[in-house]
Amino acid sequence: MALSTNSNFAKPDDAFRAVVEAHRGLTEAQSADLDAALVLVLANHIGDIDVLREAIALAKRQMLDASQQQQQQQQ
């Protein structure tokens, strides 16, 4: 099974809001703790190491691109 990047939620906004609202009112440290637990729970639910690795690669690429753009804007 490959990582699905199609839109899988009937109401994507609901999913995004659910994650955002989970972080409301938390300190940065608490948010990081929440994310760590959430990632592990979801990773286990997926239960497929190849899909997990693909997901990590995608997320890491986004993160690096974003930080590169930020650096360019600052220059």
Binding site: A32, D33, A36, A37, V39, L40, V41, N44
Partner: protein, 542 residues
């Protein structure tokens, strides 16, 4: 104290001058195999070779067995190997048998695991036994074997390659002498001087966290289980381990800060309060205290010309997982039969290369597992610590969280991807695949006596052996190959059906076992040409 004194007496050995020392130059003594280092690995290797009929010179630079408990956990696989060497019963009789481990977080238990939850195995998952007992029993066995020439206070100081082997220069209290060896096996430990003599590197990872090991003597009613704590009340923020050994000795392992002062931390007056907090009392005495940092590393090549490296000289891991001594013993059982065949001219020297292939892959696996455990115990970054905390918290309520908690993954035999294996041509739903080690199961001898497959394998001579689940006609067994028949006329009786189940057997199912008990090939219907081909492949003749 009587026990300790007996152990003490058994561990002192005298240097004796050997006639080889009066020979030099062209007249130097020639030996087929010289094993350097009389620790558990060197002793076991020498015994295995001797039982196969090889003469072995075994050198050790000391004249006594080392102090302290050092390795304490010996695996089922190691016990099965020691059974073949004739020392299994002594080890198990003295050792503390265990199979259950418990993991605690703070004051409460997170989960427990059983390393051998099923019945019908001769040997338990593990025994705990001080390394000096294991070594003493092995030395006793060595002394029964005239093929082994064990020389204490013989230190190899130089190694010179010759066309047909090596010349070793050996220092003794009477000065130095030389011998010639066709093959040398270096079992001389993590600080191997032979490794330096061949100029090999030993690269890997050093962990910054320090660990304190204390063996304490006390009478306590704790069960014989492996207890591991994350962040216990008595040692906040760090990890701790408690494990029972024979003679009322308990192994305690405490993680310290990376910046802890090793000299100060080791002082009994500083160790004592920590242990008192852990045990809740002060009724114990110290047997041994040691402070260490881990290294995980291995040699790039386990074979340098005709020098082979086995045990800690070739690879080092962190201790959480009992992968040090046990993997060294697996090295020994892997190498012994191959070296024997090469020395007899039954297999080409190229067979030895499979020792490197199989055991270096096993070392990689052991290093990976023990590195993961160590990283889990001592997270490197803040985010790593956060992820670990999440796992520990999730483990309270979820099954998957419990399974992610890593307090050490204990040694199991490696499965080899090896040129010696013949790949499966038939279809299998289970059973050990080629490259995996044989599984034990209870069987009844035709005469009615109860036995185990591992014992029957030994009775068959610990050589290439066909394990056959009969359907009437017996397989055509090649000459020199042992035969174990389950079922059929005069076959072993699989009364509980466990042998059949563990080997996914149907009538006619046949496994070809190597002399180290690993599966070389398996067939649903064994035909002689296929058996011969698999045998040739597993012997390095192809």
């Amino acid at each position: 104290m009587a026990d300790a004194q007996t152990a003490q007496a058994r561990t002192q050995f005298g240097y004796r001058r050997h006639p080889d020392q009066d020979r030099s130059g062209a007249a130097m003594a020639e030996h087929p195999v010289v094993v350097v280092g009389a620790g558990p690995v060197g002793l076991s290797l020498a015994i295995d070779l001797a039982q196969r009929g090889q003469r072995v010179v075994l050198l050790d630079d000391a004249d006594r067995i080392g102090e302290g408990s050092r390795a304490i956990c010996f695996s089922k696989r190691s016990l099965e190997f020691w059974d073949r060497l004739g020392v299994g019963d002594r080890m198990v009789d003295k050792g503390v048998v265990w199979s259950v481990g418990k993991i605690f977080h703070g004051a409460s238990q997170l989960y427990q695991f059983n390393l051998l939850p099923e019945e019908g195995h001769k040997r338990p998952a593990f025994i705990n036994l001080q390394q000096f007992y294991a070594e003493a029993y092995l030395v006793d066995r060595v002394e029964q074997l005239p093929e082994i020439d064990l020389r204490w206070r013989n230190k190899v100081i130089a190694l010179e390659s010759r066309n047909d082997g090596l010349a070793l220069t050996i220092a003794t209290p009477d000065g130095s002498y030389q011998v010639h060896a066709a093959f040398v096996v270096a079992c001389d430990g993590a600080r191997s001087s032979l490794r330096q003599m061949v100029g090999a590197d030993f690269a890997g990872q050093v962990f910054e966290d320090q660990f304190l090991i204390a063996d304490v003597k006390m009478t306590a009613a704790f069960p014989t289980e492996r207890w591991f704590w994350f962040d216990p009340p008595f040692h906040a923020g760090r990890s701790a381990l408690l494990h029972k050994q024979p003679d009322d000795i308990w192994r305690i392992d405490l993680q310290l800060n990376p910046d802890a002062d090793p000299v100060a931390e080791k002082r009994p007056e500083n160790v004592r309060p920590r242990i008192e907090r852990m045990l809740g009392h002060d009724k114990f005495e110290f047997e041994w205290i040691s402070l260490y940092k881990f290294q995980c590393r291995r040699m790039a090549k386990f074979i340098h010309g005709r020098v082979m490296f086995a045990g800690d000289s070739a690879h080092q891991v962190s201790p959480f997982g009992a992968r040090g001594a046990n993997s060294g013993l697996e090295d020994a059982e892997n190498l012994a039969w191959k070296l024997d065949r090469v020395l007899r001219g039954l297999s080409p020297e190229g067979l030895l290369e499979s020792y490197h292939v199989e055991r270096s892959a096993a070392a990689d696996e052991n290093i990976r597992e023990s590195t993961r455990s160590t990283d889990f115990m001592a997270p490197v970054t803040r985010q790593e610590a956060r992820l670990r905390q999440a796992v520990l918290s999730l483990a309270r309520d979820t099954e998957f969280g419990k399974r992610m908690v890593n307090g050490g993954r204990l040694s199991v035999p490696s499965v080899y991807d090896t040129p010696l294996s013949t790949g499966d041509g038939d279809s299998w739903r289970g059973g050990p695949r080629p490259g995996a080690s044989m599984l034990d199961a209870p069987v009844t001898e035709p005469g009615g006596g109860s036995s185990y497959l591992t014992d029957v394998f030994i009775k068959q001579g610990t050589r290439f052996t066909l394990l056959e689940f009969c359907n009437g006609a017996a397989a055509d067994v090649p000459e020199g190959v042992g035969s174990i028949r389950v079922g059929g006329e005069n076959g072993l009786v699989d009364a509980q059906g466990l042998a059949g189940k563990r080997y996914d057997a149907e009538p006619g199912t046949t496994y070809l076992l190597r002399p180290d008990g690993y599966v070389a090939a398996r067939f649903r219907k064994a035909q002689r040409p296929a058996i011969d081909a698999a045998l040739a492949r597993a012997s390095g003749v192809n």
